[in-house]
């Protein structure tokens, strides 16, 4: 499991119960002039999670499936605005055959001042 260091944890650990194939959306304000680390974790039970980030216009700005399913990513933010993070518990490679499998997904955010 990756951690947030050297980013300062913002104090809010968001967690949600997801079934396989299910998604949750987190509406989050990211501040201009800051660096953020967004980290998702499903523990050993759920394995890797998919997460995508959309801006306030619902335009996709990040998709971890294009980056080896990275479970955390850093962002330099220019202007304060609302972003939407969609976390998905992927369907297994064997197919959608275990609809009762559920797990707890955590999403954590850390922040730092942007370097000048």
């Amino acid at each position: 499991m990756k951690n947030l260091e050297p980013f300062r944890f913002n104090g809010s650990l968001n967690k949600v119960l997801l079934s396989r194939g299910e998604s949750a959306e987190l509406s989050l304000i990211l501040r201009g002039g800051k660096k953020y680390r967004i980290l998702v974790d499903g523990g050993n039970v759920m394995g890797v999670l998919s997460f995508k980030i959309y801006d306030r216009h619902k335009t996709l700005v990040f998709d971890n499936s294009k980056h080896d399913m990275a479970q955390y990513w850093d962002f330099n933010i220019g202007a304060t605005q609302e972003y939407h993070i969609v976390v998905t518990y992927p369907v297994s490679n064997e197919g959608y055959n275990d609809v009762t499998t559920r797990g707890c997904v955590a999403l954590a955010v850390g922040f730092l001042d942007k370097s000048p």
Binding site: N10, K15, V16, L17, T59, N76, I77, G78
Partner: protein
């Protein structure tokens, strides 16, 4: 902090309660989008609509204090809530909202390096927490760590952050979402109250109102978050918050376009752009007056 974080993740796997509302996003895709873009946008919107749970967040007490620190306004302990006023809150809702208020005051005093005062606010938060029967958070160990780190601002603010998180996790795990949301509401409103109440010169005042204006989307999230609770205890607060949101409609957020640049090797994406916050004097006066009244209705 790393050990605490790993431990909390372990606890989280044992219980993952909550009252997440199942809902779908609405979309307002413009009809002027080109066909190819329309297909891409439609797919993205579908992905968003398929999210079965929507969680609205607000800046935490630690973030609110950081926002205030950015303004470089002068610290003023007298605008904060009296830590000795803890006996005056008799309903759980008032206690919860003031626990949030004290968390922000605590974050504020910690970040501004006023450790002695931070201890007083920690004491107030502990009292509120006890009265709300929140167990295992404000332990002797936590209070000792605060004393030991009184001269280390960074460690102090980390402890505040983890204590807030532990409080929220406890309430989620014990299915007390109303209390959790009341704490969050109180914390955020206190942050805004401090921002509009600080003594500043004109340069700082512009900076502060930019920060206040940037909270417009957070206010929308707060209203939605409390509406989702469907709890009558929030009815009066919601009336005031909707009225404040109406005033905030006059705050214009002028965004410049985002440039998205990703550096795969560094695992980093730059989401560029700029934001001008346009807000006139009449609106700032109205917002200030409403925030002060709202906050006073919580703390008095």
């Amino acid at each position: 902090m790393k050990k605490i974080f790993c431990f909390i993740f372990s606890l989280m796997l044992l219980a993952c309660g909550g009252d997440d509302k199942e809902t779908a996003l609405t979309s307002d895709v413009s009809s002027e989008i080109l066909l190819e873009d329309e297909i891409i946008s439609a797919k993205q919107i579908k992905e968003l609509k398929n999210a079965s749970k929507v969680v609205y967040t607000l800046p935490s007490p630690v973030e609110m204090a950081d926002i205030l620190k950015e303004t470089e306004a002068a610290y003023d302990v007298y605008i904060l809530n009296d830590p000795d006023a803890v006996d005056g809150y008799v309903t759980d809702l008032k206690r919860a909202m003031n626990l949030g208020v004290y968390f922000t005051d605590l974050s504020f005093t910690s970040l501004f390096d006023y450790a002695q005062e931070a201890m007083r606010f920690m004491g107030a938060a502990q009292t509120m927490s006890d009265e709300l029967n929140i167990q295992g958070v404000f332990t002797e160990d936590v209070m000792m760590r605060i004393e030991e780190n009184m001269n280390d601002k960074d460690s102090l603010i980390d402890i505040v952050g983890s204590t807030y998180m532990d409080t929220d996790l406890y309430l989620q795990d014990n299915e007390r979402p109303v209390i959790a949301k009341a704490i969050l509401a109180g914390a955020w409103l206190e942050g805004l109250y401090i921002a509009v109440s600080l003594k500043t010169d004109s340069g700082q005042e512009n900076q502060i109102w930019k920060k206040v204006g940037e909270q417009k989307p957070a206010l929308g999230n707060l209203v939605r978050l409390l509406e989702d609770c469907k709890d009558a205890q929030f009815d009066s607060l919601l009336i005031d918050l909707r009225s404040l949101a109406k005033t905030f409609e006059a705050v214009k957020l002028d965004y410049q376009s985002i440039e998205v640049v990703t550096d795969t090797a560094s695992k980093r994406t730059n989401l560029g752009g700029d934001l001008n916050v346009l807000i006139d004097k009449k609106t700032t006066n109205q917002i200030k007056s409403q925030i002060i009244a709202l906050r006073n209705s919580i703390t008095k």
